[in-house]
Amino acid sequence: MSVKINGTLRNILSDKSTIKLLATLTPEGEVHSAVKQSIFADEDGNIVYLEFFEKSQTNIDLVNSIWFDKTVSITAVTPERKSWYIKGKPVRTRVFGKEYEAFYRQAEENNPNNDLVAVYYIEPLEIYEQTYDVQQAKHKEKFPLYAHLDKYAD
């Protein structure tokens, strides 16, 4: 079931200082991940990813994901070391057309060497904060008996 990116996370994703990692499955079933700063959320709460290399492993994997209904994941890490996990399903790519051309021109304005090859739309399926403190508190609450005995003695 799909979920939407909220305003807070959208701002985090659009912040240039946020590091965004896109993990995909290769056609051979191996895991691949790469830092992709061209990920952001659109007004509808979906993920948009701009791909600049025709034969990058990520591009290959995203096509393969649309073809064979595979999911991907995105990890976003802020300068304050807060992090979020987003699982998503690539549902569309635009490799031409007016909508694509608008992104192409924008990418070229940002950097004249940019040569956009594809715009991917990724439908979020699951989102949660992965920041250490948050995960530790959640884990403690959910699994109160999974800790070493010395922790209880403290």
Binding site: I60, N64, T93, R94, V95, F96, G97, Y100, E101, R105
Partner: protein, 423 residues
């Protein structure tokens, strides 16, 4: 009219997907089947078509299947994975043996449907911006160039001279049929100026074009056969190159089988980087029957040799052999058994691929103005197995698909599959 029981005689789209589960994209299979069977717009869906926005071809660009007025329908569709369907509905329904797919309007989106089942969303190709412009000579630019979603196409010669001798044209072909009996068009300096201006205008649409494509019918004249055709391409490509400002750029010339000397001229005098010449059918005996003009003037073995020579000139992965996939089953001389046809064709494909040549596979459709208009095309499963086999021949021989892929053309199921191949 379709045969009433055709669905009982072959595997359906779903059954073919099940059979090849995980081996081929569902979009590629659907593209093949929509091309093979044809499609129509429902009445409601047709209301969406806007010639000011969508790519409705204003004229009879390659002199193919239209006669007086252009089709009112757009010339292609795209699915959500970027796979294109290079076919228009006007060609679909009269002579094909199977029911066409129906494009339906559902919740303001267009979908490919069949017997009420909804398959994939499609969008209509957009009209090139330069179609509304005129050159300084007063020529409408749509008369100079056409386009696919990511390539610009110029066809400087509008006549195929294999047709000069009655019955000598390729039997599946309807291209240039509108010009079979005239002298073609004269190309003077004004024309080449129009080419430069049209390409320059097209490139103002940033991000639209990833390849320059040029093709024509065969011109047999010259000191050596095809010399005049080569000369025309050189002049046209030089004219286009003036707008591109690069010594070499992504190009695909689909042309006659030139000699090595002619190919070296093309390489040395123009920005050309990719070459396609079409054996059409990968069997010498059938080539003789289906392509009598090519057989008379060049012959199957020499055509193959020229493909190999082209690899020497342009490099591995820069030379493709166009084939009309499925035409090897045409009757009465083609293979009646699909398994036998695949065995023979793929064996020959592997032999050719060893020399660095890859394939541009067009799905054979029985075009109304072709000699084969009343033939029956093969099953969907045949086309899928052929696409997979051709892709495997490329991979096995370590050839990259550089010039005729989903982006630079979009008409070939086997090269669409290269999208997920690692280099």
């Amino acid at each position: 009219m379709s045969e009433s029981n055709w669905r009982d005689q072959e595997l359906s789209y779903e059954q073919v997907l099940d059979k090849h589960n995980g081996d081929i994209s569902k979009f590629t299979v659907l593209k093949i089947d929509v091309t093979r069977r044809g499609y129509v717009y429902s009445e409601e869906a047709a209301k969406v078509i806007d010639p000011n926005k969508h790519h409705v071809e204003p004229n009879d660009f390659l002199g193919s299947t239209k006669t007086t007025n252009s089709s009112p329908f757009p010339i292609g569709l795209v699915m959500r994975d970027g796979t294109t369907i290079c076919s228009e509905p006007g060609l679909s329904t009269i002579v094909r043996q199977r029911d066409p797919y129906v494009i339906e309007l559902i919740d303001n989106k267009l979908y490919i449907t069949d017997q009420g089942r909804v398959y994939e969303e499609v969008e209509i190709w957009e009209r090139p911006d330069f179609y509304d412009k005129v050159t300084s000579n007063g020529t409408p630019m749509w008369q100079i160039a056409s386009a696919r979603p990511q390539r610009i196409t110029i066809a400087p010669g509008t006549k195929c001279h294999f047709w000069d001798k009655p019955g000598n044209g390729c039997k599946f072909c309807a291209l240039f049929s509108g010009h079979r009996c005239d002298e073609g068009e004269f190309r003077d300096e004004k024309y080449f100026q129009d080419v430069t201006e049209t390409v320059a205008e097209a490139l103002k649409q940033k991000g639209r074009y990833a390849s320059f494509h040029m093709t024509s019918g065969s011109t047999l004249s010259g000191r050596e056969i095809f010399d005049d055709e080569v000369e025309l391409y050189i002049k046209t490509l030089k004219a286009a190159g003036k707008a591109i400002h690069s010594d070499k750029f992504p190009t695909k010339l689909v042309a006659s089988a030139f000699s090595k000397r002619q190919l070296e001229r093309m390489r040395d005098e123009t920005g050309m980087t990719g070459y396609v010449t079409d054996l059409e059918v990968l069997n010498k005996d059938l080539f003789g029957w289906i392509c009598p003009g090519k057989t008379e003037f060049i012959g199957y073995d020499e055509w193959k040799k020229r493909l190999y020579d082209a690899v020497d000139v342009f490099g591995r992965g820069q030379v493709n052999c166009g084939i009309v996939a499925g035409v090897e089953t045409a009757q009465p001389y083609g293979f009646a058994d699909e398994d036998k046809a695949l065995e023979i064709v793929l064996k020959e494909a592997n032999e050719i691929a060893k020399h660095g040549v890859t394939f541009s596979e067009c799905v054979w459709t029985t075009l109304p103005k072709s000699y084969f208009s009343k033939q029956k095309t093969p099953s969907l499963d045949y086309y899928v197995r052929l696409a997979l086999g051709l892709a495997e021949a490329r991979r096995r021989n370590g050839i990259q698909e550089n010039i005729d892929d989903y982006r630079r053309c979009g008409n070939h199921p086997n090269t669409d599959l290269a999208r997920i191949e690692k280099w």
